[in-house]
């Protein structure tokens, strides 16, 4: 059974700070890992995904995520957050040809 854990329900940082949002998963085979963002009142939007190759993948708006097989993690990072990054971030995992399994989300709060 695949599971996805986002251990932090909320993360608060100041504008301009760096941030890391954590995602851990459990699955033994080949998987796709994704991050989605949901701004208030809007639908979830795709940020980035990883399947193979370079473990650091770049997404939109300066976001990147790093895959670690040893840690079973796919953490999302940004070097310098902007107030517009305030949103809920969802991590998702899928085996090939199977549907996404979602984490419960991390709300990123940006203080001015």
């Amino acid at each position: 059974t695949q599971t996805v854990s986002q251990s932090d329900a909320h993360v608060t940082v100041f504008e301009g700070d760096s941030v890391e949002l954590r995602c851990n998963y459990s699955y033994g085979g080949s998987i796709y890992l994704s991050w989605y963002i949901q701004h208030h009142g809007r639908g979830l939007q795709f940020l980035l995904k990883y399947y193979s190759g370079n473990p650091v993948v770049q997404g939109v708006n300066g976001f990147e995520a790093e895959f670690s097989k040893s840690d079973s993690s796919f953490h999302l990072r940004k070097a310098s957050v902007h107030w517009s990054d305030s949103a809920v971030y969802f991590c998702a995992v899928s085996a090939v040809n199977y549907q996404l399994i979602w984490g419960s989300g991390t709300k990123l709060i940006i203080k001015p």
């Binding site: 996805v4 796709y32 639908g43 979830l44 090939v96 549907q99 399994i101």
Partner: protein
């Protein structure tokens, strides 16, 4: 246009009454999904269509129905709403079937059952 639309955005329903939610997309995507999202929980897949074929999750099989009259539209139908159905319902579409395909989401319909 990568928009997925959902109607209505808010729905109030009485216990025991039916509920019908609508989703549309104009990207000619083969796959359309319905998720249920409750606060502080992960989105839960209820069902999805791949072309005209409906797949319903085993644990929600009897609770939710759906139809897809054409490629663009997909509905979610609850025959008799219970309090536990109060949630955000998210519709999404993707070009292909499978977790590698990016999903495009609508803004959701917030259903409140009283």
């Amino acid at each position: 246009d990568t928009t997925v639309k959902q109607n209505p955005r808010y729905k109030l329903a009485r216990v025991g009454k039916p509920v019908n939610l609508i989703c549309s997309q104009t990207m000619n995507h083969d796959t359309m999904y319905w998720y249920q999202k409750k606060p502080n929980q992960a989105p839960k897949l209820l069902l999805f269509y791949y072309d005209k074929i409906l797949n319903r999750e085993a644990d929600t099989f009897e609770k939710f129905q759906s139809s897809r009259p054409n490629n663009s539209f997909c509905s979610l139908y609850i025959g008799s709403a219970g309090l536990e159905y109060s949630a955000m319902y998210l519709c999404a579409s993707s070009r292909d079937l499978g977790g590698y395909a990016e999903q495009f989401f609508g803004p959701g319909t917030r259903l409140t059952v009283l």
